[in-house]
């Protein structure tokens, strides 16, 4: 309650002092001169109020400015309350030059206050007093004055004059000057509306361009123009992190950690996500020529090989026959279509099963001859356009000879010319396709990677808590069991309780000596009855004194004798009614009981 009152009083004091404060706005920057690759900290400090939104800083060409966040401070010095908030912005220069952060409007309690504009310079190399964290600044006098000269992305395609669906290799390269630390380079992204694309492979190499060495990440992929005309590829953007040092200015002093030693020792490094874009490329996409186009051409462009087989050769009417086709090579495999097998009077055709990998596609299809007059499975042909020679090519496989015998009596279909699948199924085991089961619709129970119950601290704590509970319960049960079964143990526990309660009663009745002595006598009889394990009727002063002497408790033999004598005197002979004597007697009883407790 006292604490609540204190807090309420503090709140009142705070409220009144806030009203009394003057509001002041200051802008500050961590360095007036900095190098490319280092980040600056711009701090806007508002003294006298904390309820102030951070004003936006207008975009400035050559600077990447981001709001970092607020920090607040409250102080009470000599009873004077003050509060302030500091809004921090991180400034990352991209070009050299002299910049100005303009005056900003800060709205405090409905009033508009203005900061002073701040100028600073960004140089190509680091100032002597503040070494760059990104790496040593280039010593070359020709050092780049634009960070975009130190980090850039190129997009290259060896062929600009291509056909629709032709595989066009594309290389996207991220160039980074060795004095800049980058990490977590991600796969490039580009608008791919008019292009299909395959997997991206990447490798890291060093390259030298115009005498300047660069670390590069080279992404290689293949694209497939989806339509004719002039198509624009890119620009491709590559996101990655740049490690920069924040030149931090602590708005609240910094104390002993504000000196340059600690600033450099505890360098405030920041990962800043950057996404660089390449130039766009124009591709002239030509249509596939109509002249010489085979009838079975379905749009395959590239260099391919086609293989096909049908078997077994010896079958009965109604037996399944497996047709296998494989197309391999380089080109837009996803656009490749297999020669189609149409149902005819000779064959019943089932749905095909297709497989594909990076360099080949294969198909398996079950067909069933429905007549013994069938002598062969017809030829299969596959045509494609090869952009390297500008010609169409065709491979024909088959026809595949068959020896179809009449179906045996047991499995012969009732109407050979119109066999139903159900009839075939009843005659022969239906040839079932095999493949993996489809993906799952929902993600199920998502959990942190590697999180297992047995690694959880809570699980271990739960088991430990249960063990402690179990031990406590077991000890409790054993204790109560002993009280129930061990009379001496139970009496000993009870005697201590009797002594405690009896003494309390005696202290209350010490001013009434007659009642006091009566209770004192009863207490001693009860106490020693429990202590000696004898019934109260079988115990009196001589018995107790004999026991005390027998056990060697000579220390209390005399006081015990005196106490019993005083009790007898008061109870039966109307002895001393003086409370002072009763107090003396109480002390003796306390001494006796304390001794007995200790000896027990």
């Amino acid at each position: 309650m006292k604490r609540i009152l204190l807090m309420a009083m503090m709140a009142c004091v705070t409220a009144t002092t806030v009203l009394a404060q003057d509001v002041k706005v200051e802008a500050d920057i961590s360095d007036k001169v900095t190098a490319l690759g280092d980040a600056l900290r711009y701090t806007l400090t508002i003294d006298g109020s904390q309820d102030v939104d951070p004003p936006p800083i207008p975009a400035i060409d050559g600077l990447d400015i981001r709001y970092v966040g607020p920090s607040t401070r409250i102080s009470i010095v000599n009873g004077r309350y003050s509060s302030s908030v500091a809004h921090a912005y991180s400034i990352f220069p991209i070009k050299t030059g002299v910049y100005r952060i303009p005056s900003l409007d800060v709205i405090v309690d409905g009033k508009t206050l203005q900061t002073l504009p701040i100028d600073f310079e960004v140089t190509a190399s680091a100032p002597a007093s503040a070494p760059s964290s990104v790496g040593s600044a280039p010593n070359d006098p020709q050092a780049a004055a634009d960070l975009r000269d130190k980090m850039f992305v190129t997009l290259q395609a060896p062929e600009r004059d291509v056909y629709v669906n032709e595989a066009v290799p594309v290389t996207i390269t991220l160039f980074v000057s060795p004095d800049i630390a980058v990490s977590e380079v991600q796969l490039p992204q580009w608008p791919d509306g008019a292009f299909g694309k395959s997997d991206v492979q990447y490798r890291q190499v060093e390259k030298v361009i115009d005498g300047v060495r660069y670390a590069t990440v080279e992404f290689n992929t293949v694209i497939y123009p989806a339509r004719e005309g002039e198509l624009i590829l890119g620009p491709a953007s590559v996101p990655f992190n740049v490690v920069v040092q924040n030149r931090n200015n602590d708005p609240f002093g910094g104390g002993s950690f504000g000196d340059s030693f600690f600033n450099s020792f505890f360098a405030n490094r920041e990962r800043r996500t950057v996404s660089l874009s390449s130039q766009a490329l124009a591709l002239n996409v030509k249509p596939i020529p109509q002249e010489g186009r085979p009838a079975d051409f379905t749009g395959a462009v590239g260099q391919f090989n086609f293989e096909a087989s049908a078997g077994p050769e010896d079958v009965q009417v109604g037996d399944p026959l497996t047709v296998r086709m494989n197309i391999s090579g380089s080109g837009s495999l996803s656009a490749v279509e297999f020669p189609s097998i149409k149902e005819s009077a000779d064959f019943k055709v089932y749905e095909p099963s297709k497989q594909s990998d990076k360099s080949a596609r294969s198909l398996e299809q079950v067909v069933i001859p429905v007549s013994e007059n069938v002598k062969e499975f017809p030829a299969l042909s596959f045509s494609w356009f090869d952009p390297s020679d500008g010609q169409y090519h065709t491979i024909i496989q088959g026809p595949f000879p068959l020896k179809v015998k009449p179906a045996s009596q047991k499995s012969q279909p009732p109407f050979a010319s119109a066999v139903s699948p159900a009839a075939i199924a009843s005659a022969e085991p239906e040839p079932l396709g095999e493949d993996i089961v489809f993906i799952k619709e929902g993600p199920g129970y998502l959990r942190p990677v590697g999180a297992r119950v047995y690694r959880s601290k809570k699980f271990h704590f739960g088991l430990a808590a249960y063990t402690v509970f179990w031990l406590a319960a077991m000890l409790g049960l054993m204790f109560f069991r002993r009280i129930q079964t061990d009379v001496r143990f139970a009496n000993r526990l009870k005697s201590a309780d009797t002594a405690r309660k009896g003494l309390a009663e005696l202290r209350r009745s010490v001013n009434d000596p007659f009642a006091f002595y009566d209770r004192a006598h009863t207490l001693l009889i009860e106490y020693f009855s429990l202590k000696l394990g004898l019934p109260p009727g079988a115990i009196d002063a001589p018995v107790i004194q004999e026991h005390v002497r027998g056990k060697g408790h000579e220390t209390i033999a005399a006081p015990l004798r005196e106490v019993f004598a005083e009790c007898e005197s008061a109870r039966f002979a109307g002895g001393s009614g003086d409370p002072a004597h009763a107090r003396e007697c109480l002390k003796k009883i306390e001494t006796i009981l304390r001794y007995m407790k200790k000896e027990a």
Partner: protein, 255 residues
């Protein structure tokens, strides 16, 4: 009695609340998008999308299963086997997973599961493959709690000593068996790995050492030792060899 109830509640609450609830709405959205890419047949993009969810440090049996399917469709058998194995640690009784795993191994006979020679090991493997580690931990904890309560009740109710001893010994044996299986499973997961790129197991841990036997993609091996970028492995038939760590990947993902 009140104290007992309160304690039990506390234990249950702690046991079930072992993980903080993670914000998985983003991951669920990514999972749906990855499924759409798979349906369109863009398996490589589906792989990237599923891996992105794993990069956000979230996992599930269904996620590994779908990722394995995508790898299989994309022709990357090693990664497919690896992710089926990882899925099996989280959803061991899933019928689709069992079917796909069996189908993949039937299509690629070189991909053989790791097999222990010892009959005892086989029996334990079959048993522990039925449960996840979490389930085994929960069963062990449950048996431990029940045993403790049983002993308390027996002591309180003064039950017949012979009956109490018999039941207690049976429960202790059950707990011991489960604990052994639990420890065995942890060690098994920790040491199991899958060959990702076709490799060979050498007699010695160096590149130009004599080749002992080839290791096809997707082969499941047991790691016995790790030394300077090389791993001593045991193949399904008990053959030992050294393989470069770049070629194999452990099934266990550490938190």
């Amino acid at each position: 009695m009140r104290t007992l109830s309160l304690s039990l509640f506390l234990i249950c609450a702690l046991s079930f609340g072992v993980w903080a609830v993670a914000d998985d709405s983003q991951a669920k959205g990514d999972f749906t998008k990855a499924g759409e890419l798979y349906r369109k047949g863009d398996y490589s993009a589906a792989i990237v999308a599923y891996e992105k969810i794993l990069d956000s440090r979230l996992e599930s049996g269904a996620l590994y299963y779908n990722l394995a399917n995508s790898y299989y469709r994309d022709g990357q058998i090693g990664e497919a086997v690896l992710n089926y194995e990882r899925a099996a640690e989280l959803i061991p009784r899933d019928r689709d997973l069992k079917y796909n795993d069996r189908y993949l191994r039937s299509r690629y006979p070189d991909v053989r599961p790791y097999q222990d020679k010892n009959i005892f090991e086989k029996a334990i493997n079959k048993h522990i493959a039925f449960y996840t580690l979490d389930e085994m931990a929960a069963i062990l904890a449950g048996l431990f709690v029940v045993l403790g309560l049983f002993v308390l009740a027996a002591f309180y109710g003064r039950w017949a000593r012979s009956m109490v001893m018999t039941i207690s010994v049976l429960m202790v044996v059950a707990i011991g068996t489960y604990a052994a299986g639990f420890v065995f499973k942890i060690a098994d997961i920790r040491n199991k790995a899958v060959v990702i790129t076709k490799a060979s197991a050498n007699f010695e841990p160096r590149p130009k050492a004599t080749e002992h036997f080839p290791l096809p993609k997707g082969a499941v091996v047991k790691i016995l030792k790790e030394e300077d970028g090389w791993m001593k492995i045991r193949r399904w038939d008990g053959q030992l060899g050294w393989v470069s760590a770049e070629n194999i990947q452990r099934i266990e993902k550490r938190p």
